[in-house]
């Protein structure tokens, strides 16, 4: 396994409702000369539902994934496990921290893993793909790969809750900037806004207004985000969580009716934005799976065709 290939843990949502995230991340990493290799036979991270039922079982679920990732790299070095969904990222990271060092929890989980022939040594390091893009691959290489600068595109970078909370590993807890720097590296302009890490209401309500317990609360939370981004002149919201992305793009018509103000702002994965700037085929980036997608005209530098998807993907 080359040093440039990362073990990738997609999680259930980034393979389902948010599959555009996995598709675009794979394409972007490949374009930058790094590989993402999906963890074999990964299981659900337990989300926030398992800790509400049995916390040790939640640790066991995540520990199995970490142990499987370690098995792929037999030598003694640390193993990076990339978790794209911020819900999974938090769950895996919490497990990594809970099992670091000896203790009753570590003993119990270690015993449970041993019963099914697995061993967690503590070599796995849970990381987010954004961390890799900014701090390992580097903004210089990202900029160098741009063939279609997204000049003039104003992007509201939305980090969601769980990337920097409760653990801020590679970015500031109150004002994270890694996505803003990535967006700037591909020629677009990140807007300043205060709701970068405000909850969108999508995570616990699993699908927000669709099946959630409190559609009203969820809509209020998402509406505040969408409205603020619109007011500050953003053309687009860039996200890094499948639940946020779906929650923000899926119910804009319903929110417009509910709150009496028109809303129409695409919510995309930041990797899709990067991919477009790299000139990767939109089909590979999962752009066709978005409900809203458009780039402003000036962005079409060097490409005479209007931005892909046009208006037909919108509702």
């Amino acid at each position: 396994m080359s040093a440039r290939t990362y073990t990738y843990y997609p999680g259930c949502s980034a393979k389902g409702v948010g599959r555009g995230f996995t598709e675009s991340l794979e394409a972007v990493f490949e374009h930058l000369g790094a590989g993402l290799e999906e963890l074999e036979d990964w299981n659900c991270c337990g989300a926030t539902a398992w800790p509400s039922v049995d916390e040790d079982q939640a640790f066991a679920l995540s520990a199995r994934n970490l142990a499987l990732a370690e098995d792929r790299v037999p030598d003694a070095g640390p193993v990076d496990v990339l978790a794209s969904c911020t819900g999974c990222y938090r769950a895996l990271l919490k497990t990594e921290r809970a099992l670091a060092g000896p203790g009753p929890t570590a003993d119990k989980i270690g015993g449970a893993l041993a019963a099914i022939g697995l061993d967690y040594e503590g070599r796995a390091r849970v990381r987010h793909p954004i961390d890799i893009l900014v701090n390992e691959i580097g903004l210089d290489r990202v900029s160098a790969a741009v063939v279609r600068p997204l000049t003039g595109l104003k992007v509201a970078c939305y980090y969601g809750c769980l990337l920097v909370r409760p653990f801020a590993t590679f970015d500031d807890q109150y004002d994270p900037t890694s996505m803003d720097r990535l967006v700037r590296a591909v020629g677009a302009e990140p807007i300043e806004w205060p709701l970068k890490t405000r909850c969108c209401g999508g995570s616990c309500y699993c699908g927000g207004p669709v099946i959630g317990a409190m559609p009203e609360a969820t809509m209020q939370l998402s509406y505040a985000l969408l409205r603020e981004a619109t007011k500050r002149g953003a053309d687009m919201i860039a996200t890094i969580c499948p639940l946020c992305q779906f929650n923000l793009e899926g119910f804009q018509d319903r929110m417009s009716r509910r709150f009496g103000r028109p809303l129409d702002i695409p919510a995309v994965f930041i990797s899709q934005l990067l991919g477009v700037a790299f000139g990767i085929d939109e089909e590979r980036l999962g752009i066709q799976r978005l409900m809203r997608w458009r780039l402003p005209e000036p962005a079409a530098v060097g490409a005479s065709a209007p931005a892909g998807g046009g208006g037909d993907a919108r509702d």
């Binding site: 259930c12 926030t48 769980l162 099946i211 939370l221 899926g250």
Partner: protein, 232 residues
């Protein structure tokens, strides 16, 4: 049990707008009624611990033991930063600050019947903002665990149902399938919403984002063995 605990308890009860009617003057009564109407969406927290004798002084220790760092809850200064940082405290019957106060007071029954832990989105804003570093979100999860165990969770509220449906699905298949879990939930809680959201479901299917095929891992038996060995 100290007097100040009883005072806190009383404050909480008054705010919940269901004190004994004879204790109120007409003016207070109508204010209480207004508050009650405003909150009628949720089942009000049962006011069972009206007297000190009904409090459970061991409850705070029970919660503290269930959460790493949980003993910090004794250091709460009731500043309310958690409640103001919380994006959904307006939808709770006990705001995070009040939930901590009632936990310390030993109002076990009221806390376990509260909807607040189920309204919590687990966004960790309270935990990060707390000046005393109390792991409030983890405390919410601990309250959820006890209330599931003792079946005091609010009925007809979607989150507990979803939590259990989700857990069953993962126990069985190892991964979650969004279409199945939403179907299951609709049928269990509110079949009418199924129709309302059929449109968006169809659209997601057209986009290839929602499939009916059930996701599964290969080593399902081993996963079940792992969960069994790790259960507490």
């Amino acid at each position: 049990m100290s007097v100040s605990f009883a005072g806190l308890e009383q404050e909480a009860q008054e705010a919940q707008a269901s004190p004994a009617p004879e204790a109120l003057s007409p003016g207070e009564g109508s204010a209480a009624k207004r508050r009650a109407t405003r909150r009628k969406k949720w089942r009000p927290v049962k006011d069972q611990s009206k007297f000190e004798a009904q409090l459970d002084p061991g409850f705070a220790a029970e919660i503290a033991a269930a959460v790493p760092g949980g003993e910090l809850l004794h250091q709460c200064i009731q500043c309310g930063t958690c409640s103001s940082a919380c994006p959904v405290s307006a939808y709770m019957d006990l705001t995070p600050r009040r939930l901590i106060a009632m936990t310390r007071a030993g109002a076990r029954d009221d806390v376990l019947h509260s909807v607040s832990p189920w309204v919590c989105t687990s966004c960790y804003a309270c935990t990060v903002e707390c000046p005393k570093r109390i792991p409030i979100t983890d405390i919410m999860h601990a309250v959820r665990r006890i209330s599931l165990r003792e079946k005091t969770y609010p009925r007809r509220f979607t989150t507990p149902v979803m939590t259990q449906a989700f857990v069953e699905m993962i126990e069985d298949r190892g991964r979650s399938t969004e279409s199945w879990i939403s179907m299951k939930l609709y049928l269990k809680t509110n079949p009418g919403r199924l129709l309302k959201n059929a449109g968006i479901g169809r659209r997601l299917m057209r986009q290839g984002r929602l499939g009916l095929r059930r996701e599964s891992i290969r080593e399902r038996g081993k996963l079940r063995a792992l969960l069994k060995a790790a259960s507490s």
